[in-house]
Symmetry: C2
Subunit: 302 residues, 2 copies
């Protein structure tokens, strides 16, 4: 398959996910659509959902961009200045209204250079405001099942990659309970050919909507208090810290003059920072913080 | 004067500013105090003020840290690995409750290496949620007066430096109306000796409290609506973007394992992000955005 086929697939995946999420939200509204062009080549379609019944703010962004590689990136890839690239993908962040529903992030992407080098990347990770062991076990179980269909080592490898990537060193906290994260997958880095890797990436992309619909359905009617909302705002603050300080997609997007509003779609509708906020010993907030550590085997916490 | 004298002065300045701000706030409460130690050498005193009558969240941080320079920084300064440094300063960010009162930031700092190289840095800049030309003129006038006492070129030079520094390229917006920003001032970069430069830095530090007390007094009782608060939260979101994406002090602090809660004291109590938020033509919010451009001569806008 060529890059156009991959790009077309991603565009279709975006629509399929938006339809499924709008249905799961149940507010009888649809995603809004913004088409945009990139001056240097390509463009995208940003779809947003605001003030639904379950989703307070969500974005499902598709892009297909191409042109000349930024000199810094050419240097880091060890290719000549002036090399052409093509990149396409779908990127999602959803911030729910109810603090008992987790924040979720998903990305699938494809990148190629004019010298024939290509790779796939992506992943799904969950940032619950309150960590629930059963949910975490179910979530990681879903991801493991997808991975195991392809390679018995994928889940452990990509789960560890997510633990290492979605980490805030200045807080000594993981962003959430992780999930899977993978990058630069191609014939050289795996035992699969391009068609097989594309199939794996499709499986990840198509698993996203059912996984999040499960959390929406199970927790949208959970009761909560102002104290729970307050904690949600603080956790959203951590989400902001990760995305602006560490997220490579955000940094790359802003540095390469991407579309700011599409890149910062990942920002929460509202966030808070309180100096020295520390949950009281034994509270649900305290227990959640204690679980935000690298290396947890979520498949066997219950 | 030696580094200890400068550090003692900064510690005293911190207390003097906290006393003046608490008085101007008028809620009959004092700044809280947290003393902390840095494992690698030195420590600090972080003073915070929360939910006052005028100040919703404010921090006045003093630190005096020393030890071995981080290899990256040694390389960027062109000194040998293993060089010792000493750094001391006061850093302030204040987020007011009333959106008609501006956010303010101030920093004065001193840095020296064991090879005798030293410099002073600092500045004061203002981020109004709503730009008021008279206030901007008064503010820049105050800064110009301080600068002119020392060097007829200081104001223009440091004002331009602030314009360039407090800028969000991905928004094509300045953070606010700027002010003055200066760094690496010493005998080599100016026509002044160390004593004179210290005197200039003192003048900047001592001007801070009266300047901000002026804005607190003049605007704390201004009326405002929910729409004004909403805009304040959006502007606070921009403040977060600048500090996490661009502010060198924040980046340096977090990378050098500084005290996270003291570094992120600059974060607002609450912030918002709305996709594609654009103020309607001719509104106060629209006019403010139109004024957040580099190179404005605030001394002659009225």
């Amino acid at each position: 398959m060529d890059k156009q086929e991959i790009s077309r697939y991603f565009k279709g995946l975006q629509d399929q996910i938006c339809t499924a999420l709008a249905k799961a939200d149940g507010a009888n509204k649809n995603f809004e659509t913004d088409l945009w062009q990139r001056q240097e080549g390509g463009g995208g379609c940003t779809r947003t959902f605001t003030n639904g019944a379950v989703l307070e703010k969500g974005g499902v962004a598709f892009s297909e961009v191409f042109g000349t590689l930024h000199p810094n990136m050419a240097a880091s890839l060890g290719v000549a200045d002036g090399a052409s690239f093509f990149a396409t993908g779908v990127s999602i962040v959803l911030h729910p209204l109810n603090p008992m529903v987790p924040i979720i992030h998903m990305n699938v992407r494809y990148f190629e250079l004019d010298n024939g080098l290509y790779w796939f990347g992506g992943g799904i990770d969950l940032s619950p405001h309150y960590v629930n062991d059963n949910d975490a076990q179910w979530f990681h179980g879903q991801l493991k099942t997808i991975c195991d269909t392809y390679d018995a080592n994928f889940y452990n490898k990509f789960k560890t990659w997510a633990d290492d990537y979605f980490y805030l060193p200045h807080r000594n906290e993981t962003r959430g309970i992780g999930g899977i994260f993978f990058d630069q997958l191609n014939e050289k880095s795996t035992s699969f050919n391009k068609q097989q890797l594309f199939s794996f990436v499709k499986a990840v992309g198509e698993a996203f909507a059912p996984i999040y619909a499960y959390f929406m359905k199970n927790h949208k009617d959970d009761s909560y208090t102002d104290a729970h909302k307050n904690w949600q705002y603080i956790r959203r603050g951590r989400y902001v810290e990760f995305n602006l300080l560490h997220d490579r997609g955000t940094k790359f997007g802003l540095e390469s003059h991407g579309r700011t509003e599409s890149i910062l779609l990942s920002m929460p509708p509202q966030a808070q920072w309180q100096y020295m906020h520390q949950p009281a010993l034994g509270t649900a907030e305290y227990l959640t913080l204690a679980k935000l550590v690298k290396g947890t085997n979520w498949l066997s916490t219950t």
